[in-house]
Symmetry: C2
Subunit: 498 residues, 2 copies
């Protein structure tokens, strides 16, 4: 009934920027997500799931680097012609959920959510069109304690994942500080919106380009290593000097947050927005310093965060240990956790102010960083015991052997292919099988099964001493009565327990 | 910088057929998925994840009830004008993955995958446009033992989830049996494809409509309770009689599978396709009967399975215990696990035969069924201990109390709202908090904290005896030195351990 013969053969391939995930990476990811979940739950956050598809207008357009309409988001029309989109983050759907269910939620409302998000952007190295985020948000709390708590949550999460104190930092800034700085260099107001965006993007690159590169982007522009030219913001000399002064503060590594803030205040103190931002940072760091996080949570004026919806404190976490790629080249991982306050997102729907703040973990980036630091390795799970099929007419008997092992809680499978003994042994190796179970005619006649320990067997060739060789060989392959199958396999598994 | 004021307010709502998932349902689902994963792993299956988006041509069109092109699947165009779709199941992406990676996979290749799929269909009761499937497939095994194993896997999974033997059944049929029956009533060949589809859909409804309803659909058609008329296949009398005879076999409840198959063979035995299908079922049930699954895995000629890609054995699992909805009305849940052999899916890409068979669990439907049977209840997780904020200037101190509890492994949160004592107590109740921690001026002066046991406190009003009341009251609210906070909270939690 299939029409396959009439159609050309499709090519088996994935669209660019989309990837399959292997068993090893799935297991590592699950372990990491489990740890994150435990920390988030310990702070009182509750899980919520929202669907992948939302109305386009409900999600809004808050992505960075999104100059053309419809860019950045996968969108399509419903039967009734309304536009639908795949979520590009977990925050916009949360705002929709809160606006829809506001009356029935406990307030403040603490929720966590983990799941894939989609970005319809040009994929590049480390850029994916589908990736997983793990978010925690507190909605309905205007208190700066909510922001401080999320910074501490981020720190606790990284430590729970095995990053030692001192090997990571949570950097905090405020959108109000940035807005105040921009206002005081005459970049406030609606007419400067485009220029302001260019300036913020330039500041955001301080880590990567250092101050020289950022100055070029604030001025005429910059040619990168590949020869591509990026047009600058074309600020004048005094504007560039002021911004440099603001950013140079970062490099000074002033110890405690409050001392650093004193120094920052002196410079732009005439601007009211700026002063409001500094007061916010003072209140936030008073809480985190007070809880002894001053060595992990630090004010950093270069933190920008690209998403347009932030309105107050913004923060990001960075791993400080040098990270190298597979070829030993150092790589810049970027922030592994990021977040901030977005007091306007629910208001978009309801017209009423609902303060909110949240953090988001970039799951694959964090896992990559952790793995490069030796954590959450993709050690293959122990493979299944493989029951070989020597006589196809006796498949039912072999299946019963596998079933007996499984019933005893042992991971076991029947070989289901068509190949002979040698290929079956190779298959068992590929499956990282600890041992195989064999029952040929001889064994069957005696009511026995033979067990072959593949891990011990693999070491046989290294054994030079003849007596030792014979002893090992006897251990690596032996026969037992069929009724002793489970115990014998358990003995072999016990030999190789990690 | 926001343009929100220029735009009309979006409405906070979800597109039809899409739903948010609550904390309770998420926790129940996670527990259920964990059990399924354990069983699948015990059979040697390995996890794989594929992205939500695939090339439309790679997915193919195999959905049931899909009469118009593009129906059933969410599709959109990429920048390069190629069509992309959201996956509608996990089998089509697996076929793409296997075709793409065939050389490097162990063969046979056993994989499991769990994740959301999307169907762009008219949503109705129990019909969702996003839902989760949990699949296990064996690729590269033509042996009927692979199909038998999946039927046993389905049975083992249901028992691991708490469904007792006898309260579920795995029903098995073969596409070849169905094809043979259709051929022998002169419905074979390309010209009859449309009519064959109507007949298969009618047979698929035997459970719901019983033989009378199916006969109407095989003939002129049928008017349902709502008055809607469904056009029938317009078969002639002898065709309808033959098919009725085939289906009546089901009702006879013939004990063992082999006896039943003997009876079935007699009827259509002249047709070769039919005989091939019966031989398949004989081999399959020989394996499952041999492993003592004859009371759980039964041949059933009415099993059709809608997906177009099946080529051999098809199977589905059904819960037999009567299931009632919230109002006590009995409901027909339908199959909770389904699957079959699809030897042509990988060949679509490569031109080479790669036999494959798999099962798919409908996660929400199964969870719903299990919950109606009293399993995987959404008992709320124990809420966090809530630290109240009596004096906002001392937020840092309160935060430290919460942090101290968390550091001791106790789920705890700081109240982050603006409201007074009474509202905070109400909030703690909403959060299912076992107890709150209070530190007012008096306690602080004495270096103490007060702990209020909300669960014990709630029982106070029921206590009539004065002495008992006073004793209980003292237990429900008491003060301890701040240094004893963790121990005191632990004592309260121990009182209410499930």
């Amino acid at each position: 009934m299939s029409k396959k013969d009439e159609r050309p053969r499709p090519e088996a391939r994935l669209p660019k920027g989309l990837f399959d995930i292997s068993a090893g990476e799935i297991r590592a990811t699950q372990a990491m997500l489990g740890t994150i979940r435990t920390v988030f739950e310990s702070y009182g956050f509750e899980p919520l799931d929202t669907p992948a598809i939302e109305y386009t207008d409900a999600l809004g357009k808050f992505l960075p680097d999104q100059d053309r309409p419809n860019e950045g988001v996968f969108s399509f029309q419903d039967d009734d012609d309304q536009w639908l989109s795949l979520r590009y983050d977990l925050t916009a759907p949360l705002a929709r959920y809160v606006a829809e269910n506001y009356q029935t939620l406990p307030k403040p409302f603490r929720r966590y959510q983990s799941g894939p998000v989609w970005r319809n952007e040009k994929p590049g190295p480390g850029r994916f069109r589908q990736f997983t985020q793990f978010d925690a948000d507190t909605v309905g709390a205007s208190s700066i304690a909510a922001d401080a708590e999320l910074c501490m949550l981020a720190a606790d999460t990284l430590e729970a994942l095995g990053i030692p104190r001192g090997q990571y930092v949570i950097k905090v800034n405020s959108r109000k500080v940035l807005d105040g700085v921009l206002e005081s260099v005459r970049l406030g107001g609606g007419g400067n919106a485009a220029k302001r965006l260019v300036v913020l993007r330039a500041i955001d690159k301080l880590d990567r380009l250092e101050i020289g590169g950022v100055r070029a982007l604030l001025g005429k522009g910059r040619t990168d290593e590949s020869g591509d030219f990026t047009k600058g913001a074309e600020l004048d000399h005094s504007q560039i000097e002021s911004l440099t002064h603001y950013l140079s503060w970062k490099a000074s590594k002033v110890g405690l947050n409050s001392g650093a803030l004193d120094q920052l205040t002196g410079t732009f103190a005439e601007n009211e927005t700026f002063r409001g931002g500094v007061a916010e940072l003072r209140a936030l760091t008073a809480l985190t310093d007070g809880a002894n996080y001053q060595d992990r949570i630090r004010v950093d004026p270069s933190v920008v965060r690209g998403l347009e919806y932030y309105t107050g404190p913004v923060f990001e976490a960075e791993l400080l240990a040098p990270i190298k790629d597979e070829r030993g080249q150092p790589i810049r991982l970027g922030s592994v956790v990021s977040g901030g306050r977005y007091d306007g997102l629910v208001e978009r729907f309801t017209g009423e102010k609902v303060p909110a703040t949240g953090v988001s973990i970039g799951v694959s980036r964090l896992l990559f960083g952790l793995q490069r630091l030796g954590k959450f390795q993709e050690s293959a799970a122990q493979g299944p015991v493989v029951v070989l099929v020597l006589d196809r007419d006796r498949t039912a008997d072999y299946q019963k052997l596998a079933q007996t092992l499984r019933a005893a809680g042992i991971r076991a499978e029947l070989y289901l292919g068509e190949s002979g003994m040698k290929a079956q042994m190779k298959y068992a190796d590929r499956r990282a099988s600890p041992c195989v179970v064999i029952q040929g005619g001889d064994e069957r006649a005696k009511g026995e099964v033979t067990i072959k320990d593949l891990i011990l067997g693999a070491t046989l060739t290294e054994t030079k001493d003849r007596d030792e060789y014979l002893k090992k060989q006897a251990e690596a392959q032996f026969s037992v009565p069929e009724s002793d199958l489970v115990n014998a396999v358990r003995r072999v598994l016990a030999r190789h327990k990690a």
